[in-house]
Symmetry: C2
Subunit: 373 residues, 2 copies
């Protein structure tokens, strides 16, 4: 009896997980968080109509979901003014990123992203055995010129870009994104992660162009729609590119309740508008809390606000740890110079009140543990 | 603007989907089925406790699920008398089969299965660029000796085996499975698909041996537990093998309601016992219906009965089509000589009454369209 060998790529992968969840932290701490503001979920919850649909679907969960996701794709096609053949559903944007890399990047191919951008993407690139090239942020935004230069110099297969951006909340206007798209070398696939598009200014999101097979637009029900637990993401793109996903996706991978809940949430646009309004007000409240503690909130187009703690990454880490110790779950960017910040998700008044109470103490404790140099 | 190239493996993949769902058939037909007996779902539904837990979880679906699946893994570990490190959760057995192939089979490696066995496995093998070697069934069961011979001759990396078997419902006693395990060449990974273990005779399922890193036991909540829509499968195996899945799985791929519902279903073993009893009685009823129509039901350890229609695959195809035309959704094996059969999932009395009514007409119509040679 000898254990089976692993493939070369898998053998060489580090044992890293993209994100440790708040539940794991709660298990270590031995008590729950009182404010869950670290995962960019929507504490305003999903549409009550979607809740009703999902609750009603529980008894029918003995049925497999429709593997073609027909009704949800039709709904999304109508909503976006595209064809259902331009839409593929996945287990969150995460699942679709993995498939996109599998489709477009040979092992050994170069994939370009920004240093400090979404780590789950990097995880999927590693699992494909592709080479990840990281371009630094510039002024807390992705540096389009440097990204394009890296793509050209390294003959990259795939470029990842998020707009609005996580973890900084920054964004580029649509015109700038369109310039980047126009400048893409032939054959490069742009994965444009628009998880936070619903909370962005209208002029940040380029119109959909389903004729351009070089651009995949990635969207989700996890953020403004308030359905992170449902694991329903989708990609919009040119029909041949979208059809390719059918060659590799887990056709029966989508859960039935999430499939139905996402459609119900999509059809309740008044609720989305209301939720986006609440998210906007929560952004202002978080920024106020930051300023009243002498910290600098970054402008945000997402459902979170990233706060510059004013010193280095070690200090921001202390602030974060002190907030966690006060039962406030938040996260922070991991790569310098972004790591001077903490990232606080939008929440209800009561969640943010908890954060407002904890922040002065956390800052004082952090300053105590990390005297100004 | 030039479309991005696809990887060689993806480019060469056929545009095949593992299964067309009943919903797609209903859309083509323009009307719903009246008996849904084709997907080996449990028409008896999940535990009412699980239904309550899932319905109650709808409002909290704004939260991501715990990416470690901690509580469900602990529950499964207790249930099976193993350690939580021996358990990995996936988006159904389908998702886990894809990951297992990615872990153990280099592109170009040989993977052995039975001809006519679970097609989604073959789909994943193709997507990995591995070579699939198919061994014929023998007497409507997997041919262990021939499978082992193929593994040895072709120096295979992976062997797939289901017990009980889909699509025939046949099974081998545990002692025979253990003989096959003992005879596995060093380094070969056996994927032992036990989706139907809950409805099998106790002596068909070998005891768990978590020390053997060559065997992965695949289980699901989709069959006897009645939670196909939840997409919760799991694998039991040696801890280093299980840990490898963390290198490649979609950590946030599991939906929260399904995760909670599966645990609630697991904890309601009395309901499972009741459901298994109903499934057993439904098997007998399906066999009676077959016999009273002059057809031969195969003995089944699964939640379906495969019925020998007594002629060739073309005739069984006609019988199937006539049943579909009479609003009874069933499926059939696709590979000769298994394809002489149709496969009918267990259902409630009212579902099987519908099948009992439709079968004589369907047979008559099929015989009309396909005179005895």
């Amino acid at each position: 009896m000898k254990p089976p060998p692993q493939t070369r790529i898998v053998r060489e992968l580090p044992k890293l997980v993209p994100f440790v969840g708040p539940e794991a932290q709660e298990r270590v701490r031995g008590r729950p968080f009182k404010a869950r503001l670290g995962a960019n979920e929507s504490l305003f919850g999903p549409s009550p109509r979607a809740v009703r649909v999902m609750a009603d679907a529980a008894a029918d969960n003995w049925k497999y979901s429709d593997p073609e996701n027909h009704d949800l794709r039709q709904g999304l096609a109508r909503h976006h003014g595209v064809d259902a053949d331009n839409v593929v559903i996945g287990e969150g944007i995460d699942g679709l990123l993995g498939l996109a890399v599998k489709i477009a990047a040979e092992p050994g191919a170069v994939v370009v992203t920004s240093d400090g951008a979404y780590p789950t993407f990097n995880f999927h690139v590693a699992a494909q055995g592709a080479e990840l090239v990281k371009v630094p942020f510039r002024d807390d935004r992705e540096d389009h010129d440097a990204l394009l230069a890296a793509v050209q110099q390294r003959n990259a297969a795939v470029l990842y870009l998020s707009n609005p951006n996580n973890p900084m909340g920054s964004w580029w206007p649509a015109a700038q994104i369109e310039r980047l798209i126009a400048a893409l070398p032939d054959g490069v696939l742009l994965l444009l992660d628009e998880a936070y598009c619903d909370t962005a200014p209208a002029d940040a999101i380029p119109p959909l162009d389903m004729a351009n097979a070089q651009v995949l637009r990635l969207r989700t029900f996890s953020k403004a729609y308030g359905l992170a637990g449902a694991r329903i993401g989708y990609a919009l793109g040119e029909r041949d590119l979208i059809a390719t996903f059918d060659k590799v996706r887990n056709h029966y991978g989508i859960n039935r309740i999430g499939q139905l809940g996402a459609l119900a949430a999509l059809l309740d646009q008044p609720y989305l508008t209301e939720a986006v309004g609440k998210i906007g007000r929560a952004r202002e409240r978080i920024a106020d809390i930051a300023r009243s503690n002498g910290l600098a909130p970054l402008a945000s187009a997402a459902n979170f606000v990233t706060i510059d703690c004013g010193r280095d990454g070690a200090f921001a880490r202390l602030v974060l740890d002190e907030l966690l110790a006060r039962d406030v779950f938040v996260r922070k960017p991991g790569v310098a110079p972004l790591d001077r910040c903490i990232r606080v998700s939008c929440g209800r008044d009561e969640d943010l009140a908890f954060f407002a109470d904890a922040l002065p103490e956390a800052l004082a404790a952090a300053r105590n543990g990390h005297p100004q140099k």
